[in-house]
């Protein structure tokens, strides 16, 4: 048992270290909590970043050039707010992103608007604003890198990143 755990943990730690090394912009205590980034499939322990990413859903998506919170995104954010209420020691950073089909400076502003809209929704659902930071990456950090709409729709997103250790 413990042996298997060790083996599965190792690549996670490596992926984590690689993320921190590459993401020079992220402060060291940020926890990259995308399942894909962590290279894991399971839902994780209750209260863990894995659970937040996989079970709750750490990201929402937007329509082209819009910062309106869609119905599917509202459901995800409602789950996020509930989970964050249950585990109040986490601080969060909301990253706003845009797809590549806009110009650079406008997309920085658009990403910021998406992050703010996401923050405002969570605050309305009871998450204290003091727990939330926002940052815009514009079109600088796509997750999907093809040149068509299937990727662009994944890149128009706001990702809730957990900071600080859970209880």
């Amino acid at each position: 048992m413990s042996r298997i755990e060790t083996m599965t943990k190792a690549p996670v730690m490596l992926a984590l270290a690689a993320m921190l090394a590459v993401a020079g912009c992220a402060s060291k205590n940020e926890i990259p909590n995308s399942a894909a980034d962590l290279g894991i499939g399971g839902a994780g322990a209750p209260g863990s970043p894995q659970e937040f990413t996989v079970k709750v859903g750490d990201r929402i998506f937007f329509d082209t050039d819009s910062s309106a919170i869609r119905a599917d995104a509202q459901a995800t954010l409602a789950r996020q707010a509930q989970w964050l209420a249950q585990y109040p020691t986490y601080q969060i950073t909301i990253e706003g992103h845009a797809d590549e089909r806009g110009t650079r400076e406008y997309n920085l502003a658009l990403g910021a608007r998406r992050a703010a809209a996401t923050r405002d929704f969570l605050v309305a659902r009871g998450v204290p604003g003091t727990r939330i930071n926002t940052i815009s990456y514009g079109k600088e950090r796509p997750v999907a890198v093809c040149d068509d709409i299937s990727c662009w729709s994944q890149n128009r997103r706001a990702v809730t990143v957990l900071r600080g250790a859970g209880s």
């Binding site: 020079g24 910062s67 590549e100 400076e105 920085l108 940052i135 890198v145």
Partner: protein, 440 residues
């Protein structure tokens, strides 16, 4: 860089008399750059005489500059009849007119006792049989490319009546690594792609560098402190400085024409972005817009009296358009009305035009319009391209383009006719070019 010394070479008794007396009067040799289609002027650029390869190197850079402008057609050296052995003596003009060279460049490079290089050149009108320009330059040998660019600018100016733009540099963002974890470094190079070096190390995302019009300084945006902010960077020393420590993101910086202010966007708490100007001496900020909209990409008119910017204040989904307002924020007025989304406006250094990026029908276009929005012309269209920057003479734009499936962007220049597009060589992917003023 400042130790370039220029003196004028008089035509001298050698070249005079002979030419003026024998040859018939001839219209002054000049390219009309305002014509719709400019026929490139055939020009013969001889290797400058020198004891080593430097003479040929210098004439090679001059030839490349003039050719890339699209206004000149260098004559193949294999066609040359006369071999220039003494550049102080008038050439045999008939040897050059017979190969249809309307202009001729001759020169000589020697080394002074103090080690400096002396470069002499003469520009000849072959049909009129006249020397048009004669100058010499003294400089450290390391600056030989600058000497070449200055000579090319002199030729360009004499034959077009417009100031040149070859003795300039370009700051840009060098891109490496995969697209989802792209490493971005500020880099600087001569306008022809030579002498490239990095200004930042790639540990933070850096974007949108712009030259100071008055100092060896750039302003840009960086993620180095987590929250992205606008910085200043001294090109020669590498010294970096935060322009202003706002709690929210600052972005889209650009200098005022006098170099005293940086105008930029500041993110509001409500998620919208407004435009502010900061005086770099007093560090006082002035709010220029106050809208619940995205107001960004501000760019001053060259006289400093107006600012053109991008805004989606007109409403609807994502209808970003171009507006002009007074430099104090007064009287904002929309000027773009075509079919599509407009952004990245940049005021021409001549004051007559505004360059922009337009998105329409799934394409990205680079275009220009007059400052009241009339006379829109599209110069280039593609899958993904943006970010025009003006050459200091207002005749050429540089921008970046990513072809579908290419994996990253590259730099291109295009003249105002839209007919002369040229790739700008960079070793890696490159974006966000910004052209310097003419060097001092």
């Amino acid at each position: 860089m400042k130790n370039l010394l220029k003196t004028v070479l008089l035509a001298g008794s050698l070249a005079l008399g002979l030419a003026g007396a024998i040859l018939p009067a001839h219209a002054v040799l000049e390219i009309d750059v305002n014509k719709g289609v400019v026929e490139p002027l055939p020009i013969a650029i001889t290797d400058f005489l020198s004891g080593d390869s430097l003479g040929a190197d210098i004439s090679g850079v001059i030839e490349a500059d003039l050719k890339r402008s699209g206004l000149f057609a260098p004559v193949d050296k294999a066609a040359f009849i006369e071999k220039i052995s003494n550049p102080d003596v008038a050439p045999r003009f008939s040897d050059w007119t017979v190969i249809n060279a309307q202009a001729l460049v001759t020169g000589r490079v020697t080394t002074e006792a103090d080690g400096r290089v002396r470069a002499e050149f003469r520009l000849w009108d072959t049909y009129a049989g006249q020397q048009l320009v004669g100058e010499q330059y003294f400089a450290n040998k390391a600056n030989w490319r600058r000497i070449s660019h200055i000579i090319a600018d002199t030729i360009y100016q004499r034959l077009t009546g417009e100031k040149g733009y070859f003795d300039t540099r370009v700051v840009f963002v060098d891109e490496s690594g995969s697209k989802d974890k792209r490493v971005k470094r500020l880099a600087i190079m001569d306008q022809d792609g030579a002498n490239q070096r990095f200004l930042t190390d790639g540990s933070s995302i850096v974007l949108t560098p712009r030259f100071s019009p008055t100092r060896q300084e750039i302003t840009y945006m960086s993620y180095e402190r987590g929250q992205p902010q606008v910085y200043l960077l001294q090109i020669e020393t590498g010294q970096r400085e935060l322009v202003a420590n706002f709690p929210n993101m600052t972005f889209a910086p650009r200098f005022s024409p006098d170099g005293q202010k940086v105008v930029m966007s500041l993110l509001r708490d409500d998620g919208n972005s407004n435009i502010f100007a900061m005086d770099l001496r007093s560090r006082n900020t002035q709010r220029l817009t106050n809208s619940t909209a995205i107001d960004t990409s501000p760019s001053y008119s060259p006289d400093g009296s107006q600012i053109v910017f991008t805004s989606d204040r007109g409403g609807g989904t994502g209808r970003s358009q171009i507006y002009v307002m007074g430099a104090d924020g007064s009287n904002p007025k929309r000027i773009s009305f075509g079919e599509g989304v407009y952004s990245t406006p940049v005021w021409s250094p001549r004051g007559d035009l505004i360059a922009f990026t337009k998105q329409t029908a799934g394409q990205f276009q680079i275009g220009v319009m007059r400052t009241d929005g009339s006379g829109e012309r599209i110069l280039s269209s593609g899958f993904l391209q943006e970010g025009p920057t003006w050459a200091p003479n207002g005749r050429v734009l540089m921008f970046f383009r990513e072809a579908a499936g290419s994996g990253g962007p590259k730099l291109f220049s295009i003249d105002l006719t839209g007919r002369n597009e040229q790739p700008v060589p960079t070793p890696h992917f490159a974006s966000d070019p910004a052209w310097s003023p003419l060097l001092e």
